[in-house]
């Protein structure tokens, strides 16, 4: 691009091919969205296997009102689960990350490594003991129980994200805080917390998205359909194969709306979360 102003025919061809490929992939990535949105705006009588790709004849909102009447309680449950769990786990992460990056002690790196390994291991390895334990303390089948579990499983990832953020904060700032007579909490409150807003945004967004989208833990801990999160409700809505497709699609869109809106508004932060969450970055 930087080399010359003379554009040869060959570069025009290759540039064209690049854009063509990108547009083809973009269409492929948008295809499921088209189907979701398109079908949601059709009444049941218009939904047929032969006319799946055709646009609706008018904007019919009945699918959304009917889907909403079915998943609204679960949507509320998801909010009641996700918001507190995301906030609490971000807060825990901000302190743990601070310790892992600025208060290293003998063995702290090993502990951190064990956290990371734990983060990668599949939930299936802990499901049965988790149910037994939650039952024995009376938290099984309750929203606080699910919040608790999400907070515990959020410990490694939130510590990792905050730790890499604080690693970019010069130790001199921390030392200056010490010289000023600040202790452990003082440095956290007066040195790190005031500049941690970007990290909080990334971690909150990450935790919000992953907890909102969770299915397996919600399904296991809150098997009661009334208390289940919205992902489980959408699956139940779609469970019986005879149900109306338009309502299934509308329900799925409702369930996806919060994370999609957040992503479109805060895409940049989301991207940072993606990279920070991959350990390597």
């Amino acid at each position: 691009m930087t080399r010359s102003k003379t554009i040869s025919l060959q570069t025009i061809w290759s540039r064209g091919a690049i854009y063509l490929l990108l547009i083809a992939f973009a269409l492929y990535f948008l295809m499921p969205v088209y189907v979701l949105v398109n079908t949601s705006f059709k009444p049941y009588t218009e939904v047929s296997v032969q006319r799946m790709w055709e646009l609706p004849q008018g904007l019919y909102l009945g699918s959304f009102t009917e889907a909403w009447s079915k998943v609204a309680p679960n949507f509320t449950n998801s909010l009641l689960i996700t918001v507190p769990a995301a906030i609490i786990s971000s807060f825990i992460g901000s302190i743990n990350g601070y310790i892992f990056s600025k208060w290293r002690f003998k063995g702290s790196n090993t502990i951190f490594l064990l956290f990371l390994i734990g983060m990668f291991l599949p939930y299936q390895g802990v499901l049965i003991p988790m149910v037994i334990t939650l039952r024995s303390v009376g938290l099984y089948g309750t929203i606080p129980g699910l919040i608790f579990i999400h907070c515990v499983f959020g410990i490694p990832i939130t510590a990792l994200m905050f730790r890499s953020y604080y690693a970019g904060v010069p130790d001199d700032l921390v030392d200056a805080g010490k010289i000023d007579g600040c202790g452990f909490f003082g440095i956290y409150r007066h040195v790190l917390l005031p500049i941690a807003a970007p990290a909080f945004a990334v971690v909150l967004l990450w935790q919000f998205t992953s907890i909102w989208n969770d299915f397996i833990i919600g399904l296991v801990v809150l098997s009661n359909p009334r208390l289940a999160p919205v992902t489980v409700a959408v699956q139940n809505l779609a469970g019986s194969f005879t149900t109306e497709w338009n309502i299934q699609m509308a329900g799925a869109l409702i369930a996806a709306a919060p994370t999609i809106i957040v992503y479109l508004l805060l895409g940049k932060l989301f991207m940072r979360g993606l990279l920070a969450g991959s350990v390597k970055g």
Binding site: Y19, F25, A26, F29, L30, P32, V33, V35, L36, Q50, M52, N96, I99, R104, N109, I111, L113, L114, L116, I117, G118, F120, L121, Y123, Q124, G125, V126, L127, I128, I149, I155, A159, L160, S164, G168, D171, V174, K178, F185, V202, W212, N213, D214, F215, I216, L219, Q235, M249, A252, L253, A256, T259, I260, F270, R272, L274, S278, V279, K280, G281
Partner: protein, 308 residues
């Protein structure tokens, strides 16, 4: 936010003040609840799962009578479990190759000074913000044999491409990876894009001056330089394959004669439908073993890299 490799070398400053030691102790005390939580809810629970896999708890009545490896023998020799292994191999093959190839391709394309890069990037990554359940609902309809993509094929004269998709009794599981890769390829693209942006432009320019064409540049310089990103992608997608549950549950469940049955789904059914907790625990423990082989060498290598 610093997204570069986290450095492990910065050590806590050692001032000789006495209250520093008191503060360090305070730091450890504050960290302790998290350590205990991880120790119990991850590591102890995993050990507990292994223990349950060796007892006789295969009804709804708790029974901790030790039976050795009997559950393991029974599970590993069962047809369904062997189907799980076959399906895992196919799923991993389809999912990992699609995510890595598409992810790398898209990142390389986007790295060519593209107008509207942000729009393309947003489109490619947004599926990752969508839950696997919603992904499954959309794709389940797209892959209905009598409509969806088949209908699209037919209307453009590609009727011979029509498929039974996930309902195919042999290759159904491979088709499910189309849906899961749709969701995850953007993440891999983001990783590769960050990697590509990390390669200094001098490297590319020097290669071009040396007469490298684009193909040689990628083959001999860029792809080898991105090897760490590829390793990360292999581990992340491999883990995704081992633990996949949501999308398979929504699209097809076990499928015809377990043709799309995956470990996590099998485990869930043994646990909640059949109450065979010990057999279920065998599957959970097996999944942990598989994951450890994938994850531990990776994390150790990342750590070694950072200590250098």
């Amino acid at each position: 936010m610093a997204v570069g490799p986290t450095t492990l070398s910065t050590t806590a400053p050692r001032t000789s003040r006495r209250h520093i030691n008191r503060d360090l102790l305070l730091a450890i005390v504050v960290l302790t609840p998290s350590i205990i939580a991880v120790a119990i809810f991850i590591y102890t629970f995993i050990a507990w799962t292994f223990w349950i896999s060796t007892v006789n708890w295969n009804t709804s009545v708790i029974d901790y009578t030790f039976v050795g490896l009997r559950n393991w023998e029974r599970m590993l020799s069962s047809f369904r479990f062997q189907m799980n292994l076959r399906n895992l191999a196919l799923y991993a093959l389809g999912f990992m190759s699609q995510c890595i190839i598409i992810g790398f391709l898209l990142a390389s394309l986007l790295d060519q000074h593209i107008k509207g890069e942000a729009v393309f990037r947003t489109i490619f990554i947004f599926p990752f913000a969508v839950s696997a359940v919603v992904t499954g609902v959309a794709w389940r309809w797209l892959m209905r044999p009598e409509t969806g993509i088949n209908l699209l094929f037919e209307s453009v004269g590609l009727g011979f491409l029509k498929s039974k998709w996930f309902a195919d009794p042999t290759w159904g599981i491979l088709f499910i990876t189309i849906a899961s890769s749709w969701q995850f390829a953007g993440y891999v693209m983001a990783l590769y894009l960050a990697g590509l942006r990390g390669i200094p432009s001098e490297v590319k320019e020097a290669a071009q001056i040396d007469g490298c064409n684009t193909w040689a540049l990628y083959r001999h310089i860029i792809i080898p330089m991105l090897a760490p990103v590829t390793y990360t992608s292999i581990v992340l997608t491999g883990m995704g394959a081992i633990r996949v549950f949501d999308i398979v549950t929504v699209i097809s469940g076990s499928g015809q004669a377990f043709s799309t049955d995956m470990l996590a789904y099998h485990m869930f059914e043994q646990m909640f439908t059949a109450n065979r907790f010990s057999l279920s625990a065998v599957i959970g423990a097996f999944m942990i073993i598989l994951s450890v082989f994938l994850v531990v060498p990776y994390l150790l290598s990342v750590r070694k890299e950072q200590e250098r």
